[in-house]
Assembly symmetry: C2
Homo-oligomer: 396 residues x 2
């Protein structure tokens, strides 16, 4: 393929995304909803103007990496430390309830399965598909609303990151029951190692960057080194520790969030993000959707799957937040913010398919979950925040 061909798709994507984002804001919906709907319209679901391919997927991946790096850079470390333990609790329960919910849903359809049986294992796997929150959309929505830095926003962010790690451990645990290659101890060890290396390495990098930044403030090299670090950590997280690349990017952001030019890096990265990469990420979600092969039975199951996945997350996270003494409306914000699912759910589904645990019909359900949660969460968050704004509202 000639390289210039990608220019057509890129042009259509960024123009349609911007147009739909403006339109979405006109009807008081968050811009990201417009961008996802732009993808639905452009993709095979409707006009079939743009086909998702390797290049679009790679650009989309960079998009979500930049969003998470930016979120890391904007982190309020004090707030993060305060919310750490609470976020851990929310994440744990927020993984456990959907896991159970998914398993129960499976048993409701296929009958009760005793622990240890093949069917029980299958039921648990369906549950583990439901565990992983994909926080990119929530982050962008909170940023758009101006609440990313508030207590609730920081709690959601930390909980989603911890949730990702726990989700991976749970998945490995479940797979360990069937797949001999999967080693739970190894996974937990790797996760622990990632934390240690991030802390120690992060401390070293932070101090080096502080010196470089003091010597060459506001030069191009500062954001470029920052971005390089972000890409490297994202890559290393997924490659060597089995942790999602977006988590690595977020950690890279946190490492740099206290250097003097953190805001400067953030501005440069954000411009890259909103001009090209982030629109591609949101549009690509819509692009991947194709409902042409869906029949009624599958639709019925998919709707049940989506409802269980979304409600269990809200209930699990919300109740834990309430126990941690959040106001009811803030519990709802946290629960709703944790509801979005993304590519991790797809990756797990794919893994199950490859291992012969589930059939391809689950893809429809998972894609529906991603689309519905991606569109509804920003709208719900906007409504909740308009009813009860955070006490400290930053400039949007």
């Amino acid at each position: 393929m000639e390289t210039y061909v990608i220019l057509r798709d890129l042009a259509i994507i960024i123009l349609a995304a911007k147009f739909m984002a403006i339109l979405a804001k006109k009807v008081k919906a968050p811009g990201v909803v417009g961008e996802i709907i732009a993808g639905l319209i452009l993709g095979p679901a409707l006009l079939n103007l743009v086909k998702p391919g390797d290049f679009i997927n790679q650009m989309a991946e960079i998009g979500v990496i930049l969003i998470m790096f930016s979120a890391g850079l904007e982190t309020n470390l004090k707030e993060l430390k305060k919310s750490g333990l609470i976020a851990l609790a929310i994440a744990c329960v927020g993984v456990a309830v959907p896991l159970a919910g998914g398993a129960v849903l499976y048993m409701c359809i296929h009958g009760f399965a005793a622990p240890g049986t093949e069917e029980f294992f299958r039921a648990l796997f369906i549950g583990s598909i439901m565990t992983a929150t994909s926080v990119g959309i929530t982050v962008e929505t909170l940023r758009e609303l101006g609440y990313l830095n508030g207590r609730v926003g920081q709690t959601i962010l930390s909980a989603a990151i911890i949730d990702d790690v726990i989700g991976i451990i749970v998945l490995t645990f479940v797979l360990g029951m069937k797949d001999p290659e999967s080693d739970t101890v190894l996974v937990i060890g790797k996760t622990f190692l990632f934390l240690v290396i991030s802390l120690v390495g992060g401390f070293v990098i932070y101090h080096i960057m502080k010196v470089v930044d003091a010597r060459y403030p506001h030069t191009r090299r500062i954001p470029i080194i920052g971005l390089g670090l972000c890409f490297l950590m994202a890559y290393a997280a997924e490659k060597y520790f089995g942790i999602a690349d977006i988590t690595g990017a977020y950690v890279a952001g946190i490492i740099l969030c206290n250097i003097r030019d953190a805001g400067y890096i953030d501005r440069k990265v954000s411009i890259n993000s909103y001009m090209i990469f982030a629109p591609v990420f949101f549009v690509a979600i819509g692009l991947k959707t194709d409902f042409s092969k869906v029949d009624t039975g599958m639709l019925f199951f998919s709707v049940a799957f989506v409802l269980v996945a979304m409600l269990t997350k809200v209930i699990g996270c919300g109740i834990t937040a309430k126990i941690c003494r959040f106001k009811w409306i803030d519990c709802l914000k946290i629960g709703v913010g944790m509801m979005t699912r993304g590519e991790v759910a797809l990756i797990i589904t794919n893994k199950g398919l490859n291992l012969g645990i589930i059939d391809s019909s689950y893809f429809t359900a998972v894609i529906l979950l991603i689309i519905i949660s991606s569109i509804s969460v920003p709208i719900l968050l906007k409504i909740l925040y308009s009813k009860s704004p955070d006490p400290v509202k930053e400039a949007a």
Copy 2:
């Protein structure tokens, strides 16, 4: 391939490019030279750390598109109109002399060929490989030095753009002698149509954008619409008119160069360019270089090929500039600035290979030409400008 894998290559590329650019500046060479050398070091020629693949090539293409769009946005229209006719003359002679030089070189090696014979046609084809200037590197160098907007800079830019169009017509003419699918009249017609559509469409788009810009000044939609337009025009130029995509991007920039927010668009585009895309473009030039299969005979021919290609361009453009009453040193600047060759030369070589006109050994010569011209032109330009700066120097 998992999408996260590209993050590693991207990180290595942007970090190495920045490091080498800083190093290059320390030894008073232009930054782009450092970036190309970074590619040589990272690629198969030396460390073999990064392999050029589809994704890198696509990112590189966006890189040169952004550079040319930016150059268009920074265009001084008055200066361009003044230099238009002169640039046309320089471009014509700058195509004719290398065309003849290449043919003569071929005949020097393979013996004289009478017009109309197969050998004569082959000789002309070698000449046409030498015609197309690739101005991206020159533009970036002039911008770095702060002379892009001067009379000489604008003359080089216009001449290179016209050169591209003439080169395509010449190539079609040459191929028309052998390839029945190639239609010279059609190509000239298409080129003419591109000019007409650019002028008329450009006029309309300019006025629409002026209105949009007046209504929403300094909003994100302005640079995004501009970038979308750039991608669309780049795509359309290559797809429907057979003109290089970078020419389309440059024309898009010129269309927008007089709206009030042209500088605002340029800043946003430049940040995208220097953070990610432009380094990938320059590094990719080095990455594609692999000297492992070169033998002495081929090396000897390649050196002759490079010398002829570079000298004929300098002589052709320089002498024409002198006739147009430029100072001698400015003639040299123009000649040197037009010397760079790039992907167009590779594309033509590839075409000749596919049609069975030449064998693959020419690739080595063309790649050597690209590398040597890409590294020497920025250095030579810097020396020439330091000896004789333009009267009006803008802030770098």
